[in-house]
């Protein structure tokens, strides 16, 4: 007699195999091609080389774009994490009327004002402020978009930290800001690191905002630079592009692995949009 559990297991493997292959195939190309001696659009590793990476480092535009991406994302991380930290602390520790409505409104706005549709008024705003074709414009636009989600997640995290330590310090005569910096911040460092990581991956990966707001090639971050590399007329340098894309993707994967170690994936369900 057949064991029904065993049959069901075999059936599920048979269904899963092609689906998993479908998901892996395009990604496999990214892992293999950068190290290939004769890189092509087909997944094949014919001999191992680091030559493709060397060509990335010889490419002025590519290196410059890395610097730009770093400037943009680090600025957004510092700006959003600091502002969201202050605001989330208040929203978590201070009861005032309309607090929950405020949070709901912010999250509502951040999910409504998104995508290419939002870029039309955002572009005109930047135009009026003289921020078109500046890194500052990209930094502020990205920050405004990410802020509500960062605020929301941080506030949730802060709510889970008990107030007793802060209250004890207040009774001992510390000022509210002293309490925040000396007592509260060390307790909440884990949540702050996770938020910083999330904000980093969001701004590092973003394509649309710099694509619309920036005009000069010298200001392009990596996302836009890669797009121009593969959409330009002529024969694209597949080896160089794949190595460049590989280097560009690494920090994102690294950040997500770190987040997963700390919190598990269900945590950021709301932030990816």
């Amino acid at each position: 007699m057949k064991d029904p559990r065993r049959t069901s297991k075999i059936v599920s493997y048979i269904i899963l195999a092609p689906i998993v292959a479908f998901f892996i195939c395009p990604i496999l190309w990214l892992i293999v091609t950068p190290f290939s001696i004769r890189p092509s659009l087909f997944i094949s590793l014919n001999g191992f080389t680091l030559n493709n990476f060397e060509r990335v480092f010889q490419n002025r535009t590519a290196i410059n774009a890395f610097r730009n991406s770093l400037v943009i994302s680090v600025s957004v991380v510092v700006l959003v994490t600091t502002c969201a930290l202050f605001a989330a602390y208040v929203l978590s520790r201070h009861d005032f009327r309309g607090r929950n409505i405020l949070l709901y409104m912010l999250v509502l706005f951040s999910s409504v004002v998104s995508g290419a549709a939002a870029m039309v008024p955002i572009f005109i705003l930047n135009l009026r402020l003289g921020l078109v074709n500046t890194e500052l414009g990209v930094i502020l636009t990205l920050s405004g978009g990410i802020m509500p989600t960062a605020l929301f997640i941080l506030k949730d995290f802060f709510d889970s930290i008990p107030r007793t330590y802060e209250e004890a310090a207040l009774v001992d005569g510390s000022s509210p800001l002293q309490v925040m910096f000396r007592i509260f911040l060390p307790l909440s460092s884990k949540g702050i690191i996770v938020i910083a990581m999330l904000v980093f991956t969001q701004s590092w990966s973003n394509f649309l905002v710099p694509f619309v707001l920036l005009r000069s090639t010298s200001k392009y971050p990596v996302s836009v630079a890669i797009y121009t590399f593969f959409s330009e007329v002529g024969v694209p340098d597949i080896g160089m592009i794949s190595a460049y894309a590989f280097l560009y993707t690494l920090p994102v994967i690294f950040a997500y692995v770190l987040i997963e170690r700390k919190f598990g994936f269900s945590f950021y369900g709301g932030i990816k949009g």
Binding site: S12, I15, L16, I19, V20, I24, C25, P26, I27, S40, L41, F42, I43, C83, F86, A87, V90, R93, H94, D95, Y104, L108, F109, S110, S111, V112, V113, S114, G115, A116, A117, A118, M119, V120, P121, F123, I124, L125, T141, S143, G144, G145, M147, E167, V179, T201, S223, V224, I226, Y227, F230, S231, A245, Y248, T249, Y256, S266, G269, K272, G273
Partner: protein
Amino acid sequence: MKRSLMGRKVVVFLLIPALSLIFVFLILPGVWVLKIGMTNETLTGAKARNPDFVGFENYVKVLSDRFFYNALRITLLFVLGSAIIGQAGLGLLLALLTYRKRRLKSFVQSVVILAWIIPEVVVAYLWIAFLDKDYGTLNVILSAIGLSKINWFYEYPLLTIIIFNIWRGTAYSMLLFSAALETIPPSYLETAEVIGASTWRKFKDVVFPNIKSYILTDLILITLWTFNVFTPYLLTGGGPSFRTELLSIYIYRTAFRYFKLGYGASIATIALLINFALAMFYLSLSRRRKA
């Protein structure tokens, strides 16, 4: 003492930086778009400096704009095919197949999540390479097993971006449904097994009623996200001959390729209103669940 840890001035001081950034770069543009949509502003030329107020003229024009209807139709098919059927269906299937198989689940999840977190430009190029008509891996495999090569982006452009977006976004649905399945008490399924229920009956009578509300949440959120997706532009540019021109791509083309900011803003307003309706639906649902 218990109610608050700080004074009013400190509260305002701490809230202002975050709220002002959100106000200027999110709320203001979201409201301002209504006004811009009623002008004939352009990026260059005379109307760039002194746009005229044209009232609802743009909206009347949108209603007879065949590119708008084309984009709307393609967006609907895209959302229906890639999100509602594709991502939700595949996500549910994967969650069910890996239910209570811990190691298998974590392996499948990490592969699916990888497709979700790789930056969009990279993902676009991976698919351009994967589907290339001469050297792409898929066509090389097809011809190796004796089938003919297919020029995916020209012969099946819409289907191609739909399949691409299923690949890109299934992770969220799979994660949500996996978490939902964990909330079903194991005894329910054990009882069903003892009385010898078929797989379909187990799904219909035990699993589905217990994860129904998660499915609704998932459908609204992925609809909202998919409606705003711009990545297919990096694969097809909206072509060939507008056959993959989603509403987001049409707005981009109008405002930033043809420089018609006023007209682009009026189409953007319609898109943002659809976003608003979806978001309100989602919020009212999640509030009701909490209450």
